[in-house]
């Protein structure tokens, strides 16, 4: 309960005190620190006691709404809390006054609340409601500022997400009509008992399209590179790190718990989608000069690795997926924050305008290099362990083509990162460097501090990949064994 209540309370307090920027900052930071502690407490409790379930309003499941905390959900909430805190610290130094006054902080808090709700909920319609809460917060964040590019990006993002809502509602309606329940655990039971005459797979495709658009899978990803680079970095970083992951998480949830009747077809489709997503994402990244847009395309190709793990559908692969999610959230958020730092230090987001940053900002170069290499999977960084696991399962299942694509995409990612390195950090200073103003000490502390913290976490994840992977393995066992989930929600013996 706490992960939802803390951000909600802080957001309400901020809205009551509308216009008070200093108080907003304080409340947002307090809220995200509180969320971090709540998330840590939740993770340790779930790790020791197994899956927790809470009936809202004391209506017994499956009639009331339940919140269920299993290991994957607890891990994701912890990641959301970490990223939320880092981005908010970064925002205190980089956000402009207008956006701060028009509610940037409460919106971020509401976004975090929606995410925690989506991770925790054990009810399909409730999931839809949390998605909408997240959506409306993200719409406002995306459009806040109102430049032409932002508005255009928002229209595309908005249209596709409303389409997602319609698809999801259709799927939910059909599912309710078939089973008479929307509780995930109860659905898992009835759908497993459902005969072949029930159109379960048709409904599954509705959900695959809805969550696939959310997660930016091929061929449904075009909204992402059109919108993610338009808002300020402190907004796009949190979008990049968390929003698409909620889509992936929802995919994982329904395609391990509910739709496992016809895995050859549904998971085969996911596999093909994953391979094509990887390829198109990384090739898209080649075409652009704007660093933020390059990273946006890399989100797409990296999302595909997580979907690949789900599509392979064995415990090892799912553990790889969870590890990959943790790794990718840390890495991509650091990269977006670094892109903001590059723009601050070099004067531009465009590669051609930059240069020579290695000479003037060696720390920044290091901060870029670690997540960039980790993203492309260079050993011994965390991305290497994540990719290695998924590749080994792919090879064990003798999917040679998919494995070849995954390797090629890793190489192309490295190539793309090296290109940024070459043009932004080497060579003479770029033409945009003249417009740079020196940073104040407080600004420097907040910007570098938050980025450094995330990069340190990436390094820690690389060094302690063993224990982290064990946790991910236990999480994947919980995902693949729905009996535990059902027992926790509906009570023993059901």
């Amino acid at each position: 309960m706490l992960p939802i209540l803390i951000p909600f309370l802080m957001a309400i307090l901020s809205i009551i005190n509308w216009g008070n920027r200093v108080l907003h900052r304080f409340l947002a930071l307090a809220g995200s620190v509180g969320l971090l502690f709540a998330a840590l407490a939740l993770l340790t409790t779930v790790n020791e006691q197994g899956i927790l379930s809470s009936n809202i309003g004391d209506w017994p499941a499956p009639f009331g709404i339940v919140l269920v905390a299993d290991l994957p959900a607890a891990i994701m909430i912890l990641m959301a809390a970490i990223v939320g805190l880092a981005v908010l610290v970064y925002a205190t130094a980089s956000m402009d006054k207008g956006r701060e006054r028009f509610g940037y902080y409460p919106l971020i808090l509401l976004l975090l609340m929606g995410m925690c709700g989506a991770f925790l909920t054990g009810d399909l319609f409730n999931l839809y409601v949390w998605f909408e809460i997240m959506l409306i917060a993200s719409f406002a964040l995306l459009a806040l500022g109102g430049s032409r590019a932002q508005l255009e990006g928002s229209v595309k993002y908005f249209a596709l997400n409303l389409l997602v809502s319609a698809f999801m509602l259709t799927g939910i309606g059909l599912l309710y009509g078939m089973t008479g329940s929307l509780n995930l655990a109860a659905l898992a039971q009835t759908l497993r008992a459902a005969g072949p005459e029930q159109p379960v797979t048709t409904v599954a495709i509705f959900f695959m399209i809805a969550f696939g658009i959310k997660a930016a899978m091929f061929p449904l990803y075009f909204w992402l590179p059109a919108s993610y680079h338009t808002p300020p970095v402190a907004v796009s970083a949190i979008f990049a790190g968390l929003l698409t992951k909620v889509g992936v998480f929802a995919l994982i949830r329904v395609f391990t718990l509910l739709f496992v009747q016809d895995t050859a077809w549904t998971h085969g489709l996911l596999l093909a989608g994953a391979a094509l997503t990887m390829l198109s994402g990384v090739l898209g990244a080649m075409a652009f000069d704007d660093i933020r847009r390059i990273f946006a395309f890399h989100i797409i190709s990296q999302i595909a690795y997580m979907v690949l793990g789900l599509a392979l559908f064995v415990p090892m692969a799912l553990a790889g997926t969870i590890f990959y999610m943790v790794h990718h959230i840390l890495v991509i958020v650091s990269l977006f924050l670094v892109s903001g730092l590059i723009a601050r230090a070099g004067g531009s987001y465009f590669k051609a305008q930059l240069g020579g940053l290695y000479g003037t900002r060696p720390l920044l170069a290091l901060l870029f290099l670690v997540p960039a290499l980790s993203l492309s999977g260079v050993p011994p960084l965390s991305g290497f362990w994540a990719k290695l696991t998924l590749l080994r399962v792919t090879l064990a299942q003798e999917l040679w083509l998919v494995a070849a694509i995954a390797l090629l995409v890793g190489l192309l990612t490295l190539f793309s990162m090296v290109r940024i390195w070459l043009s932004a950090f080497w060579g003479p200073p770029g033409p945009a460097a003249a417009s740079v103003t020196p940073m104040r000490a407080g600004e420097r502390r907040a910007l570098y501090g938050s980025t450094l913290a995330l990069v340190t976490l990436t390094l820690a994840l690389s060094l302690f990949a063993g224990p982290a992977f064990e946790l991910a393995e236990r999480a994947s066992e919980q995902l693949l064994d729905p009996a535990g989930y059902i027992a926790a929600v509906l009570g023993e013996g059901s």
Binding site: F125, E152, K156, F158, L174
Partner: protein
């Protein structure tokens, strides 16, 4: 009745999708609104239509006699309508602002955030 509603829902889905394929921004929003209505009606119909049988326990009785109307989908639809209303209000404001910024209702002109050669 169910057959008639099924046809209406199908028509709404078709109309919504057709509107979304048009190039105008306003028609895009109208299409999305229609799609939302279609899925709301769909939820309504899948719970079977039962007329004049509210799910209330009569005084003195122990339970409800079958058949009775299922209250859950109606609660779901109510929630979905409220959420949809909020989103549509936001959509209209957004489209208006975008129209002011682009000076055009044609979606083919909304390319400032897509083309690699355009710098903002």
């Amino acid at each position: 009745m169910e057959v008639a509603l099924a046809i209406v829902i199908g028509a709404l889905y078709a109309a919504g999708l057709y509107m979304m394929l048009r190039r105008s921004m306003v028609k895009l929003i109208a299409g999305l609104v229609l799609l939302g209505y279609a899925s709301n009606l769909l939820i309504f119909v899948v719970s079977r239509l039962t007329r004049a049988r509210p799910p209330l326990v009569p005084e003195g009785a122990q339970g409800i006699a079958e058949p009775f109307a299922d209250p859950v989908p109606q609660a779901l639809i109510l929630t979905a309508i409220v959420i949809g209303f909020g989103l549509q209000a936001f959509a209209l404001v957004l489209v208006r602002r975008a129209y002011q910024a682009v000076n055009n209702d044609d979606l083919d002109q909304v390319t400032a955030s897509d083309r690699p050669d355009l710098q903002q």
